[in-house]
């Protein structure tokens, strides 16, 4: 388990991370969300020991993380970086050895990964000759080649085409199923929603939402209501319990405060005429993010 207790990081007068406490369970994927500059990368850098924390504790399996454990940890930084003039092979051998691997093991693993990403021909190519998406695959391999117990992925899917996103997602899911604990940050809510059990939304260095995705959605309260009807639904704009109203050509999408409101709307619609569709949806993570983070911008 990765545990952060009361972690604070200050740069001079600026507080980048403020009293952050998190528990990230093992063999799970943990989603780390937040607007730009919310403190995600700073938190990752503190976990990795690249930055010293101002106060608080970070432990992995009950022990503080030091460079002696670096072979247990994999890191995909937000700013991708590889040696442009080295070949994929030289690159991965060097980075793998720095994570405590032997050369033969690295080459074996590298072949497997290149095979999996369908790019075995890149073994002896220089990184600068590869497309950005393919460089990212190599970068990903460099983060996981040593089979880390804890894997930190900072925006792993940004800048990839949908096919490659699926390929990388598959790899990440497989790693999780093999028991790797994964922390990842993303701006793409649907990825987090699809892959993570627990999430945390950071805002100005402090968590504003934190817990299991299901609980968060449940306690968010507000639900979406999708209505298609043969008559005008405009009167629902002022209906009790309706938080927001969005007109559609043949109906509307509402955000409602609670399920009681849905029941009231249902009975009122019933009197008006024929209803083609009436569906209550769980709020999306996107809705929650916008509601929580957006609200504090105002």
């Amino acid at each position: 388990m990765l545990k952060l207790s009361n972690v604070t990081k200050r740069f001079g007068n600026h507080t980048a991370v403020n009293d952050l406490s998190l528990e990230i369970p093992e063999s799970e994927m943990f989603g780390f969300l937040g607007g730009n500059g919310a403190g995600k990368t700073t938190t990752f850098r503190m976990i990795l020991g690249l930055l010293d924390k101002t106060s608080g504790d970070i432990t992995w399996q009950g022990k503080p993380i030091s460079y002696n454990e670096s072979h247990l940890i994999g890191y995909l930084p937000e700013e991708r970086g590889l040696y442009p003039k080295l070949t994929v092979k030289e690159q991965i051998i060097y980075l793998g050895r720095l994570r405590g691997m032997k050369k033969q093991d690295i080459l074996k693993k590298l072949d497997e990964w290149l095979e999996r990403f369908k790019v075995p021909e890149y073994l002896d190519k220089k990184v600068q000759e590869l497309s950005k998406g393919n460089q990212q695959k190599i970068q990903f391999i460099s983060a996981v080649i040593h089979e880390p117990e804890l894997l930190i992925l900072d925006e792993p899917f940004s800048g990839l085409d949908p096919v490659n996103v699926e390929m990388l997602k598959g790899a990440v899911k497989d790693l999780k199923n093999q028991g790797t604990s994964i922390v990842f940050s993303s701006h793409q809510m649907e990825h987090v929603e699809e892959m993570c059990q627990h999430i945390c939304i950071l805002q100005k260095g402090a968590p504003i939402v934190h817990g299991s995705l299901r609980d968060i959605k449940h306690s968010f309260g507000k639900k979406n209501l999708d209505i298609r009807a043969d008559f005008s639904t405009e009167y629902l704009k002022e209906f009790r319990g309706v938080a927001s109203y969005k007109e559609l050509p043949d109906g509307c999408t509402l955000q409602i405060e609670n399920e009681q409101a849905a029941q009231d709307i249902f009975s009122s619609l019933h009197e008006k005429g024929f209803v083609r569709k009436f569906e209550i949806e769980e709020p999306s993570l996107n809705d929650i993010f916008i509601a929580k983070v957006g609200a504090s911008y105002e």
């Binding site: 001079g12 690249l50 010293d52 924390k53 460079y67 930084p77 970086g81 720095l98």
Partner: protein, 417 residues
């Protein structure tokens, strides 16, 4: 420790394999071998250069016979030939390039010879310098004869004077010893100067490259920045060692092979033989310390830069330091006992060159050497500690860079708050 050597190995091999390294080494080696063979090359080029032939017209007809004497011909390398006929005919012979020039000798009011020289081209470095010399000798001979002094007496007067020198202070180096170590000091100054310029730059560029390609963040998440920094310094040191061994080795063999064509034994002239072995130990100690000091500075400065283009700007202060040290040392070679040299031999940035110069040129007490080395080592430790802090923050720092103000930013970034 394993990671340390992995980084050292990577730094070394990724550089040693590059075309630029191989080409620079090859070119430098060619130049060194060329220099060693310079005497033979010059001889080859000048062998077809015949001695100048000059026509002489002499009113008195006695001067020209002196000019034929071996003494004058031997020293000037000019063949003088008497010409019977008109001045115009003689000038025409020169214009037709049958002869290199025409010398007309007349007698002045003191009954001494004077001359006019005609040639197609008169250049500053041409044969007229030798003609003038020949004429001067002729004048001396004629003049002394007029005065009734015979040649033998003259030779005795002109023989060099003997001045015996003996030092009364035993602790001072004899002139001979000084000359001997001067060569070694020169070599050391130059090698250290070049090393700092070339390899210091290389370290800074290497660090900046890893930063600008953003691979740094992965590197320092695998190994501590301090390990990374010092491994880089050592890796480049090995690279430098490889290059220096190739160059010195090549140079040594080239000079050995040409020993006989060179005037005198090269190593003896350079003072690289009969030195006290202790001085070689000092050379190595000061060289290593000097390299460490400047390499650490270079790594620190390199970590502040986000773009390779800014490297030169930021390492400028360091380059200035080593240039000042070199100039001071070069001046100090001729006056090793001056106060300026004594004082600067304790300033750590100059000590590797200047204290070594004093050791080589003077007999200085061991405590002075120890003090200078002590200050130097302490400075290296202090700069190493500072560089480690700066490096840790600097490698995570991106954006506008290129001034020493970034030092403070980098230290703040590596601090706890």
């Amino acid at each position: 420790m394993n990671k340390f050597w992995t980084i050292v190995g990577h730094t070394y091999f990724s550089r040693v394999k590059t075309k630029s390294f191989i080409i620079t080494t090859a070119i430098t080696l060619t130049i060194i071998i060329g220099f060693a063979n310079l005497p033979s090359i010059l001889e080859m080029l000048s062998s077809d250069d015949e001695s100048d032939q000059v026509l002489v017209m002499d009113e008195s007809e006695i001067y020209s016979s002196y000019l034929q004497e071996d003494e004058i011909i031997g020293e000037t390398g000019i063949t003088f030939e008497n010409f019977e006929g008109t001045e115009e005919a003689a000038k025409q012979a020169v214009i037709d390039e049958k002869y290199d020039g025409l010398l007309i000798i007349t007698t002045d009011e003191n009954s001494l010879p004077e001359g006019s020289y005609y040639a197609n081209r008169i250049s500053e470095m041409g044969e007229q310098v030798e003609i003038e010399q020949a004429l001067q000798q002729l004048k001396t001979i004629v003049g002394t004869q007029e005065a009734g002094i015979d040649q033998e007496t003259l030779a005795t007067i002109y023989a060099p004077v003997t001045l015996a020198t003996e030092q009364l202070d035993d602790s001072a180096r004899t002139a001979e010893e000084m000359n001997q170590s001067r060569g070694l000091v020169y070599v050391m100054l130059f090698v250290l100067y070049m090393t700092v310029l070339v390899y210091g730059q290389m370290i800074a560029t290497d660090v900046a490259t890893e930063k600008s390609s953003r691979v740094m963040e992965i590197l320092i998440s695998s190994a501590p920045p301090i390990t990374h920094m010092f491994a880089k310094i050592i890796g480049i040191a090995f690279l430098g060692l490889t290059q220096v061994i190739i160059l010195l080795g090549g140079g040594y063999f080239a000079i050995q092979a040409n020993q006989d064509t060179m005037s005198g034994e090269f190593f003896e002239v350079m003072g690289l033989t009969n030195n006290d072995p202790v001085i070689y130990i000092y050379a190595v100690v000061f060289f290593i310390l000097g390299y460490l000091l400047y390499a650490t500075l270079a790594a620190m400065l390199g970590s502040l830069v986000s773009r390779i283009e800014d490297v030169n700007q930021l390492i400028m202060p360091m380059i200035m330091l080593i240039i000042i040290a070199f100039i001071l040392a070069a001046t100090g070679l001729s006056m090793p006992e001056s106060t300026m040299i004594t004082v600067t031999s304790y300033i750590p940035f100059f000590a590797p060159m200047i204290m070594f110069l004093r050791i080589g040129m003077l007999n200085i007490p061991i405590w002075e050497i120890a003090l200078s080395i002590g200050i130097l080592v302490l400075t290296i430790v202090a700069i190493g500690a500072l560089a480690a802090r700066v490096y840790k923050g600097g490698v995570l720092m991106y954006g506008k860079s290129g001034s020493l103000k970034d030092l403070k930013r980098a230290i703040n970034l590596s601090k706890k708050e």
